[in-house]
């Protein structure tokens, strides 16, 4: 996966300047997006995460009118799993994660002040998993946490409405996948899926 990321980055670094010079650079070739996300996590097991929130900031460089290189940062709040009880005790897990995004963003702009777009790329995540556990009055519990980093991928599709020549509002559905979380540290790694609905503003310049 690391090799895949390196290849992808290399492709972007090599292709973007070449392509940008080869084409007529658009007047407004860059865009900054800030989005608020309503997230839903799934760790693939019997987890039942509550919905959470996140913030995403993304920068796009349009080397063609319809295609941009996309780089961004997304960070979630601490998202809680349901509290539950088993033969060991009462416990609750929570996850906080941040990711760097790197990919491509194609778009199609209609004649009216609307456009649709997508994002597709790789991400590099840093995820902290925390577990609170309590046993009984006589046996104290506590918190324990661990952090891992690794690769994954993301894809999204959205629509934008230009409210001025430069500013647009965006609505976007996102899917992010973190692969092999805690592999190498544990015999029980998992893949973390984050689906999200986001709303935000974009600024073209």
């Amino acid at each position: 996966m690391f090799t895949l990321i390196k290849l992808f980055i290399l492709l972007l670094v090599v292709c973007i300047p070449v392509t940008a010079h080869a084409e007529d650079t658009p007047v407004k070739s860059m865009q900054l997006d800030v989005n608020l996300l309503l997230t839903r996590m799934n760790a693939g097991g019997n987890d039942e995460f509550k919905s959470g929130n996140a913030v995403a900031v993304q920068y796009s460089y349009y080397f063609k009118n319809w295609l941009a290189a996309d780089i961004g940062l997304i960070t979630t709040d601490k998202t809680l799993d349901e509290s539950r009880t088993d033969v060991v005790g009462d416990y609750r897990a929570s996850i906080q994660t941040s990711s760097i995004l790197l990919g491509l963003k194609p778009r199609y702009r209609f004649s009216a002040p609307y456009e649709v777009y997508g994002r597709l790329g790789l991400l590099y995540w840093r995820t902290e998993l925390e577990v609170e556990e309590y046993f009984s009055e006589a046996i104290p519990g506590g918190n324990i946490s661990a952090t891992d980093t690794g690769p994954g991928y993301y894809a999204s599709i959205g629509g934008a409405h230009y409210i001025t020549e430069n500013v647009m509002v965006q609505l976007e559905i996102r899917h992010m996948k973190q692969l092999d979380v805690f592999a190498g540290q544990s015999d029980f790694p998992f893949d973390l899926t984050i689906n999200a609905l986001s709303i935000g503003l974009g600024y073209r310049f």
């Binding site: 060991v88 897990a93 661990a146 540290q185 015999d187 790694p189």
Partner: protein
């Protein structure tokens, strides 16, 4: 259901009565525990392993599975095993942790693959901080708060299985049908087990899983049959003599009766029977089937009564326990139906 007469007004009245009864009585029926002689002082061990002799039509898994339940009491109160302490059941070839929690803190159950050659099951309390958490979704070997072994770790008991149970009556096919709770079920079986003389120490117990419907609502619950000794004391266990006459009111009751004769199954016995029902249905049964859910009035409903006859043999518990009840049991099932004669004005 046999209906002798009908009228719209009568049906309306009956429906109203059922709804009113439901509102007044509620859904849960209180009952005392089914654990005999739990000492009010000291450490008490309860353990039971039941091997059910399923019909050929039952899932294969049920025929090869023993249901195991265990609990520990201190001064009459159940002790919860926490922090990775858990009951382990072991035979010569298999091993399982009892991770299913029962209806009260301190009762645990599991189903264990077993065959007829197995005579004994060894139960002990072990400390397995990772394995006890393996049903959780996150990396339990990495994120593990381990308080260390508790004081019950190392304590043990051994259960031995008695001979198999063979029910000879009532007949399984066709299914016997009863119309009144005053009727008697003549439950007969091969005394002492096939090919055996009557075991001196073996006792019999009758459990039931009852499911009733009145066409609008259902009720499901479990009962333990009580027997009256010669000296008038009421007990759950009877001699292994091959015959017991049991009144139907040990299984069917009237929601309007404040003091029904029957005794609902509770606690560890309920955990064990629920585990057996799960195995027999391959998991396709309400996990609260035995939770005394009374929405239809059983006495006026058509009910399926699954009778489970258990032969029990006392086992041994660790000397570190002050007292206890450790039994190995084998069981067989017969189904009878209750279809009341409905009389309408």
């Amino acid at each position: 259901m046999q209906i002798e007469a009908t009228s719209s007004g009568g049906i309306l009245c009956r429906t109203g009565a059922i709804v009113l009864t439901f509102l007044i009585v509620g859904c849960e029926v209180e009952s005392s525990d089914n654990l005999p002689d739990v000492s009010e002082s000291g450490l008490f061990m309860y353990a039971e392993a039941n091997l059910h002799d399923a019909e050929e039509t039952a899932p294969i898994a049920a025929a090869e599975t023993a249901q195991i339940a265990a609990a520990v009491f201190r001064d009459g109160q159940p002790v919860g095993l926490v922090g990775g302490d858990v009951f382990e059941a072991r035979t010569e070839t298999d091993r399982i942790l009892l991770k299913e929690s029962g209806s009260f803190v301190g009762s645990y159950a599991a189903s264990m693959p077993i065959d007829n050659s197995v005579q004994d099951v060894f139960l002990n309390v072990v400390h397995e901080p990772v394995e006890a958490r393996e049903d959780r979704w996150y990396p339990v070997d990495l994120l593990n708060i381990d308080p260390g072994p508790g004081e019950l770790v190392g304590k043990s008991a051994t259960v031995s299985f008695p001979p198999a149970v063979k029910i000879t009556g009532p007949a399984a096919d066709p299914v016997s049908v009863y119309a009144s709770i005053d009727e008697i079920i003549d439950l007969t079986w091969v005394a002492g087990g096939e090919g055996n003389t009557i075991g001196e120490d073996d006792t019999m117990r009758v459990l039931s899983a009852v499911n009733c419907t009145d066409g609008l609502a259902t009720s499901s619950y479990g009962t333990v049959v009580e027997f009256t000794n010669g000296d008038g004391t009421v007990v759950e266990f009877t001699d292994d003599d091959g015959l017991e006459a049991i009144s139907l009111d040990q299984f069917i009751y009237d929601l309007n009766d404040d003091r029904p004769v029957l005794r609902f199954i509770k606690d560890a016995a309920r955990v064990l029977l629920q585990e057996l029902l799960n195995d027999l249905s391959a998991g396709n049964i309400d996990p609260d089937f035995l939770a005394s859910q009374a929405e239809a009035n059983p006495v006026n409903s058509a009910c399926e009564i699954r009778l489970f006859l258990q032969r029990q043999r006392d086992g041994q518990f660790d000397a570190s326990f002050d007292s206890g009840r450790v039994v190995g049991s084998r069981s067989a099932e017969v189904v009878v139906n209750y279809v009341p004669v409905v009389q309408l004005n």
